[in-house]
C-alpha cells in the first residue's frame, strides 16, 4: 500500500513532495480498485502465516516453504490456466479429470518403454486435445462452457477408467521422475534447507508466461475484453473466436503440464487422481480476487489463492486437534470468509 509512504518526516521543504506523494497514492488507489480483492488475498495470506507462526511455529522456515511450493506446484499451474478461462467469463470443470487421464495414459506409455520426452510431450498433448475439444464445442456449437467442460470431465474420467482402475506406478529410475529431483538452493542448518524441484521452476515459468501474456500482449487484452463484454469485443473487431479457443487450449495444456509435474513428484497415477481439483483451482482463482463473471482479475492472485489453500492444509495438519471429518467444513468456511471479506472491502470502496 503506497499510502504508508506518506508517513515520513515532513519538513517545510518536503511538504510539496509529500502532497505529491499523497496525490500519486490516491490516483494509484483509484485506478487500481480492481486489484483490491487480490490485495486482500495477499494480506490474508500474510495473516495466515503470522497466525500459523504464532500458534504452531515452524511455518516461516525454509523447509516448510519448500514443501508448500513443491506440493502445490500442480495446483498453481492449473490455477493459472483457470484464470485465463474465468477471465473470459467461462469455466473449465475438466482439469481434474484431464490430469487423471493424462497421468494414467502417460504412466502406462512410460512403463511400456516409451522414451521420457515423448511421454511428457504426449501427456501435455492430451491436455491440449481436451482443451481444444471444449473450445470447439463452446465456440462453434454454442454449448455453454459449464456443460462443454463437464462433458470433457466425464469423457476424460471415463477414458482414464477404461485404461486402468488400478494405481499405475512409475519406476524410480524413469527419467520422467527426474523432474522431481530436489536441489538445495539455500543450505540451512540441519534439514532446514530451501529445496526446489524442476516442477516448481516449471510452475514459476508458467506464472511468468501467463503474467506476460495476460498483461503485455494483445491476446491478453482480448481475454479481458471478452470477459467485460463479449459482443462489444466482437464489435470492436477483436479476434473473439480465436482467443476463446486459445483460452480453453491453454487451460487444457496446463492441465497436461500439471499432470507431468504431479506424476513426476508422486510416481503414481490412478483413474481417481485429481477428483475435485477443478474446484480447488476455481477456489484459488476466486480467493485471488478474480470475478467469476469475468473481465477482472490477475494471474498472481490465483497463485496467492493456490498458496492460501496449500497453507490452509499445512495449518490444519499442524493443528492436529481438528477431526478429519471437519476439514471440509473448515475449507468451506475459510473460502466463505475470503469472499465475504473481499465483498465487504470492494463494496465499501465502490460506493
Amino acid at each position: 500500500m503506497t499510502s504508508t509512504l506518506v508517513t515520513g518526516p515532513s519538513g517545510a521543504g518536503t511538504k510539496s513532495r509529500a502532497a505529491r506523494l499523497v496525490d500519486t497514492a490516491a490516483r494509484t488507489w483509484r485506478t487500481n480498485l480492481a486489484a483490491l480483492p487480490t490485495l486482500a488475498a495477499v494480506v490474508i495470506f500474510i495473516a495466515m502465516i503470522v497466525y500459523g507462526e504464532a500458534a504452531y511455529g515452524r511455518i516461516l522456515q525454509y523447509n516448510t516453504i519448500s514443501n508448500l511450493l513443491i506440493n502445490n506446484a500442480h495446483l498453481v499451474i492449473i490455477a493459472v490456466g483457470m484464470t485465463f478461462v474465468i477471465l473470459t467469463g467461462g469455466i473449465d470443470l475438466s482439469v481434474g479429470a484431464v490430469i487423471a487421464f493424462s497421468s494414467v495414459a502417460g504412466l502406462m506409455l512410460a512403463n511400456a518403454g516409451w522414451p521420457a520426452w515423448v511421454v511428457i510431450a504426449l501427456m501435455i498433448g492430451f491436455g491440449t486435445a481436451f482443451g481444444v475439444a471444449s473450445g470447439v464445442l463452446i465456440q462453434f456449437f454454442n454449448v455453454q462452457p459449464f456443460i462443454a467442460t463437464l462433458a470433457m470431465m466425464f469423457l476424460a474420467r471415463g477414458l482414464a477408467s477404461t485404461l486402468s482402475t488400478k494405481p499405475e506406478r512409475l519406476s524410480d529410475e524413469s527419467p520422467v521422475r527426474s523432474l522431481a529431483t530436489k536441489f538445495k538452493v539455500i543450505d540451512g542448518e540441519r534439514v532446514n534447507d530451501l529445496v526446489l524441484t524442476p516442477g516448481v521452476l516449471i510452475a514459476v515459468l508458467v506464472i511468468a508466461v501467463g503474467f506476460f501474456v495476460l498483461h503485455r500482449t494483445r491476446t491478453g487484452r482480448t481475454v479481458y475484453a471478452i470477459g467485460g463484454s463479449e459482443p462489444s469485443a466482437a464489435l470492436m473487431g477483436l479476434p473473439v473466436v480465436r482467443t476463446k479457443l486459445w483460452v480453453y487450449a491453454i487451460s487444457g495444456t496446463l492441465a497436461g503440464l500439471a499432470a507431468v509435474v504431479y506424476t513426476a513428484r508422486l510416481g503414481i497415477a490412478q483413474n481417481i487422481t485429481g477428483i475435485g481439483w477443478e474446484l480447488d483451482a476455481i477456489a484459488a482463482v476466486v480467493i485471488g480476487g478474480t470475478l467469476l463473471t469475468g473481465g477482472a482479475g490477475y494471474v498472481l492472485g490465483a497463485v496467492v489463492g493456490a498458496l492460501v489453500l496449500g497453507l490452509m492444509n499445512v495449518l490444519i495438519t499442524r493443528d492436529g486437534g481438528i477431526r478429519p471429518e471437519a476439514t471440509t467444513i473448515i475449507t468451506g468456511g475459510i473460502l466463505l470468509v475470503f469472499v465475504l471479506l473481499q465483498r465487504a472491502l470492494t463494496a465499501r470502496k465502490r460506493e
Binding site: N142, F146, L150, A151, F154, L155, I282, E325
Partner: protein, 354 residues
C-alpha cells in the same frame, strides 16, 4: 386428412420444436439398445403374490426419483440465473440426519415422520443460508453453493461422526421400497411433488417472476419484483427437494454413506436441466424438460449396468450422450439440417437457373 390426424401431426410438430425432443429420442434409443440386447427388457409383469409391478422400466422410474427431485429444484435455481452445487451435499446431510434420528428413537411410524421432518427442516435451513448468501450478501451463486457443497458433506460427516450410520425402521423403509396399488411409493411421491411444484410455479405468477429475475435482475426489480424473498424461496425449495432426494436415496438401503450418497449428483441434476433445454444463463425453465432430462440420466445409468459395461466407465457414456445432445441442440447443426432440406426443395429450380 381427418382432424384427429391433423391434430396429432400438429402436436408432433410442437413437440419437435421443444428443446427436450431430442432427450425423448435419446431415451427411446437407449431403450431400443436394451431391447436389442434382451428382447424381454421392456416387459413389466405383476408379482402374483403381492400384486406389485416388477420390471426394468419400474426400476428405471424408481432410480430416477432422487434425480427427478433435484433436477426440478435445480431448474428453478437455474432459471434465476444461478446454480446450486450443494444439492448432492444436502442429500447426504438429509440422509445423515434421518438415519441418526431413527437410530436414536426406534421403530414406530411417528419416529419415521419425525426423521423425515428433521431431515427436511435441516435441508431447507441450509437452502435458506444459500439463498441469503446469494440475495442479501450478494455473493455469486456458484461460490455460495460451492461453500455449502464443501461444508455440507463435512456437516454430514460430523453428524454421523464419520461413520456410515445404518438404522432400521419399517415405515421409513416403506418410503423407498413400499408399493401402493402395485406402484412403488417413491415413484408416486416423486410424481406428486413434481406436479405440486409445477402447479405452484405455473398456475401462479411465481414462475414468471423467477424467470424475470433470470432475464434481467435490474429490470425485474424495477418492475416491482422483490428478488430477495424470491431467491431465498427458490434456494430453500431446491434444498428441500434435495432433502427429499436424500431421504429417497438413504431409505432404499437404510444406510447413509457419508462419502458417496449424493456424490456429484449436482452434476447429474444440472445435466438433466440442460438436456431439458434450459440455458444456464437463466431466464427460463421447463418442468417437462427437467423430467425428461432426469429420466434420460436414469435410463442411461440402467443401460450401462444392463450392458455389463464396467461402472467406472459410466462417465464416458454420459459424456457421449451430452456431446451428441448438445450438438443436436446447437444452431449450427440445425442450420445444416434445414439448409440441406431447403436445398433439396430448391434443387429443381436451381438446376433451371444454372
Amino acid at each position: 386428412m381427418s382432424t384427429t390426424e391433423r391434430r396429432t401431426v400438429g402436436g408432433l410438430r410442437v413437440l419437435m420444436r421443444r428443446q427436450f425432443f431430442w432427450g425423448i429420442i435419446a431415451i427411446l434409443l437407449l431403450l431400443l439398445v436394451n431391447v436389442l440386447k434382451d428382447p424381454s427388457f421392456l416387459s413389466v409383469s405383476v408379482n402374483s403374490t403381492n400384486g406389485n409391478l416388477v420390471g426394468n422400466l419400474v426400476d428405471i422410474l424408481r432410480a430416477s426419483a432422487p434425480i427427478l427431485m433435484i433436477a426440478v429444484g435445480m431448474s428453478l435455481v437455474v432459471a434465476t440465473g444461478g446454480i446450486d452445487l450443494s444439492v448432492g451435499s444436502i442429500m447426504v446431510v438429509a440422509g445423515a440426519v434421518s438415519m441418526e434420528f431413527l437410530k436414536a428413537n426406534g421403530q414406530s411410524g411417528g419416529v419415521a415422520l419425525g426423521a423425515l421432518g428433521a431431515a427436511l427442516a435441516v435441508s431447507a435451513l441450509l437452502g435458506v443460508v444459500n439463498g441469503i448468501l446469494v440475495s442479501v450478501v450478494g455473493l455469486q451463486p456458484f461460490i455460495s453453493t460451492l461453500v455449502m457443497m464443501l461444508a455440507g458433506r463435512g456437516l454430514a460427516k460430523v453428524i454421523t461422526s464419520g461413520q456410515n450410520t445404518a438404522a432400521s425402521n419399517g415405515p421409513f423403509r416403506w418410503i423407498a421400497n413400499g408399493y401402493v396399488i402395485g406402484l412403488p411409493v417413491v415413484v408416486l411421491l416423486a410424481v406428486v411433488v413434481v406436479l405440486l411444484v409445477a402447479l405452484v410455479v405455473r398456475r401462479s405468477a411465481l414462475g414468471l417472476m423467477i424467470e424475470a429475475i433470470g432475464v434481467n435482475p435490474k429490470a425485474s426489480r424495477m418492475a416491482g419484483i422483490k428478488p430477495r424473498g424470491l431467491l431465498i424461496t427458490v434456494y430453500a425449495l431446491s434444498a428441500l427437494l434435495a432433502g427429499i432426494a436424500g431421504v429417497f436415496a438413504t431409505a432404499s438401503v437404510m444406510t447413509v454413506d457419508v462419502s458417496r450418497t449424493g456424490y456429484q449428483l449436482e452434476l447429474d441434476a444440472i445435466l438433466a436441466v440442460v438436456i431439458g433445454g434450459a440455458s444456464l444463463a437463466g431466464g427460463k425453465f421447463s418442468m417437462g424438460g427437467a423430467v425428461v432430462g432426469a429420466l434420460l440420466i436414469a435410463t442411461l445409468d440402467k443401460t450401462i449396468v444392463f450392458l455389463g459395461v464396467s461402472s467406472s466407465a459410466t462417465p464416458a457414456f454420459k459424456a457421449a450422450v451430452i456431446i451428441v445432445l448438445c450438438l443436436l441442440q446447437s444452431e449450427r447443426v440445425r442450420n445444416l439440417f434445414t439448409q440441406r432440406r431447403a436445398a433439396r426443395a430448391r434443387a429443381p429450380k436451381e438446376s433451371v437457373t444454372a
